[in-house]
Amino acid sequence: MNISESLAVETSERLLREQCTDTVLAAADAGIWQQALWEQLTEFGLPVALVGEDQGGIDLRIAEAFAIFRLAGQVALPLPIVETVLGNWLLSRAGLEPFEGPVSLVDGTALSLSAKNDGWHLSGGAPRVPWGRRADIVVLVGGKVARVGRKGVTVSEGTNIADEPRDGLAFDAQLENAAVADLPGKTDLMAVLAAARCNQMAGAMERVFELATAYALEREQFGRPLAKFQAIQQNLAVLAEQVAASNAAAEMAAEAVEGEIGRIAVAAAKTRVGEAAGIAASIAHQVVGAMGVTEEFSLHHLTRRLWSWREEYGNETYWAREIGQATAKLGPDALWPAITAV
């Protein structure tokens, strides 16, 4: 199926574009939870996008969900839809019940889950969990999904550059047996989340390009629109190239999640998209001038997210090093076969 023909993607696009207004974004920046918007997303079924119909979900394909993540990035959606969709996806795959409200996800590599008192005990700390203060928590630890919720979770609040909640969580949680289950198959949660951020960033860059282009066509200096100056055209063309590369990379990452191809495709995508994010933000701000750094002009909702998201779940340095170590280890003659394997 072609993603552009997906009804769910099309409907999401309309909903997000109509509802995610500048007013909503400004309120979210001030730390106000956008309940009305969340309810609309819930009504449409987005939180259970990847949950089977038998569990009350809408059973989208992974590629469709990631296309919706891209749209969420386009509008700078100030809600944890990515975390909720993926959290409920893990729960349903493990045979656990999805949460009704917002969900956040913790890669529990550094946490400890042990059998205790006829159930399980989860302990340890997780830094910078998106919407950790507000969401029900799902933890993937040692191949098991733990449906934690909020009990036994202590929060120390923080935010990222874009004022999105990124909270430190300390776990001292006693869980019932029925709240923990094995996750069938192998899921590299960090890679899945990195792939999701790639798609959000690609979407945000598409919108950044639109805003910068529209501004250049409208704003006049020296008696003509900025868009008529070759220097501006050339810079916007470079921005367009970065958007195109990011779109391709984001799709590559989504495909890798769907096909369980493994980390290297996601690593390459996050490296490439993260690099593009910096270039795109820089060019757009240059074109838009001082207006672009004001609260009232919406560019910053996108660029501040780009500057945040490129660091999350591995930045360019992290992933490029991993790719470099893995490919160098195989030696120069295996380099090309490694590239064509993706």
């Binding site: 072609n2 598409e206 390009f209 282009t213 250049a216 066509l217 868009a227 008529k228 070759q230 501006i232 055209q233 050339q234 916007l236 063309a237 470079v238 367009a240 190239e241 958007v243 195109a244 590369a245 779109n247 391709a248 990379a249 799709e251 590559m252 495909e255 495709a265 690593a267 390459a268 995508a269 490296t271 490439r272 690099e275 360019e316 340095t317 992933w319 490029a320 090093r321 991993e322 790719i323 470099g324 170590q325 490919t327 160098a328 280890k329 195989l330 030696g331 120069p332 003659d333 380099l335 090309w336 076969p337 490694a338 590239i339 064509t340 993706v342």
Partner: protein
């Protein structure tokens, strides 16, 4: 802007099987290559190798069977091409004929032209030069002055072409020139012709590259007679035809793999347990290549579906050649090398060649500035 989306590249089991076959062939065929030969990429000229590839059935493999082609997919051709480039195969002799001249003849040529030329290209025996740039028409291709004037039974051509790679080693040129006097619309009044390089009135003069290599030429036409049968396509439609040709020229893996030998060289030098700087540098290049490859294969899919990927091709070429040019600079940031031909290491010899040729990467096939202008037009800025 929809052209900023690249549809997912087609997947083909046949293409992946073919890949292994090509790899095995190249391992034998390229044994004993020097470092400089590896670095030459698609500038390496070997009619012997081209004939060998033709014998394998790997030239013009997408073309109709009636000309000896195999009607295989654009993706299969793509695999052959990228494997050749990644291995540093000397593909230059057949390169232009197979990449763009043959496809142009297939699309616009007369039956006689196709019957005569295509089978020879397929065998790796017939090589082409590009007749586009002129001394006063580089980026501004539409302003060419070379003119073919209608006469009894044909045309008389006067003018000249420049930067004609391998004109002295080619059998034919596809000549792009004016057939009408300058009109209001600067994109009309051009035509394309099939020119035998032995035609009386055609003279080739070498232009030496700064390294002393002879690849470029200037080609002069003095009262050169071309029969009516030499016209390709429709008279006056040359601009439309030539821009189609440019999509073939701009989107392929030759626009991001030219420096690949140096990437392998860098990998060898940082070793199997690289430090952070080496690993990060190599990893970043690999990430870029993986994404460019995906974009380029997506365009191969568009060509297969008869879509016009002119804008996407411009994007891939600018991103790709920028990376190709960055690669030697990255290598020398990681390894303290002094490039030189007689130097000890392979990487030194490769960088010697690549650094001196890198400026051409973003010139030939459309300069960086022209490509960005095309992209800006696509975005509605001009």
């Amino acid at each position: 802007m929809d052209s900023l989306k690249f549809s997912p590249p087609p997947v083909s089991k046949a293409a992946e099987d073919l890949r292994l076959e090509v790899r095995a062939f190249l391992k034998d065929a390229l044994a004993g290559q020097t470092a400089t030969e590896k670095a030459q990429s698609w500038n390496g000229h070997s009619p012997e190798f081209s004939r060998l590839v033709g014998k394998q059935g790997w030239l013009g493999m997408t073309w109709p069977k009636q000309y000896g082609g195999q009607e295989r997919s654009a993706l299969e051709r793509y695999v052959v091409v990228e494997e050749m480039l990644a291995a540093g195969a000397p593909v230059s002799a057949h390169w232009i004929a197979e990449r763009q001249s043959g496809p142009t003849l297939l699309r616009y040529g007369t039956q006689a032209q196709r019957d005569e030329i295509l089978p020879k290209i397929l065998r790796g025996e017939c090589y082409f030069a590009i007749g586009m740039s002129e001394p006063n028409s580089g980026s501004d291709l539409a302003s060419v002055q070379t003119r073919a004037v209608k006469t009894d039974g044909g045309f008389v051509v006067n003018g000249s072409k420049i930067w004609t790679s391998n004109a002295h080693l080619s059998h034919y040129m596809i000549l792009f020139c004016r057939t009408d006097a300058r009109s209001e619309d600067r994109h009309s009044g051009h035509s394309q012709f099939l020119v035998d390089m032995k035609t009386p009135g055609l003279e080739i003069r070498p232009i030496l590259f700064s390294t002393g290599e002879h690849q470029f030429n200037e080609v002069f036409f003095k009262d050169m007679f071309l029969p009516d049968a030499a016209l390709i396509g429709e008279m006056g439609q040359g601009w439309k035809q030539v821009t189609g040709e440019l999509s073939f020229e701009r989107s392929g893996p030759d626009r991001f793999l030219t420096s690949f030998a140096a990437v392998k060289g860098l990998s060898g030098r940082i070793g199997t347990e690289p430090d952070d700087r080496g690993a990060i540098a190599l990893g970043r290049i690999v990430a870029h290549l993986m994404v460019l490859r995906r974009m380029s294969r997506s365009i191969a899919g568009m060509l297969e579906d008869d879509l016009d990927p002119a804008l996407q091709a411009a994007i891939v070429k600018d991103l790709g050649t920028s990376l190709e040019q960055e690669i030697p600079e990255i290598a020398r940031q990681i390894i303290a090398v002094e490039p030189g031909e007689g130097a000890d290491g392979e990487l030194e010899a490769m960088l010697d060649y690549i650094i001196q040729h890198a400026p051409t990467f973003s010139l030939r096939g459309g300069t960086r500035e022209i490509l960005r202008g095309i992209i800006a037009r696509g975005a509605g800025l001009r």
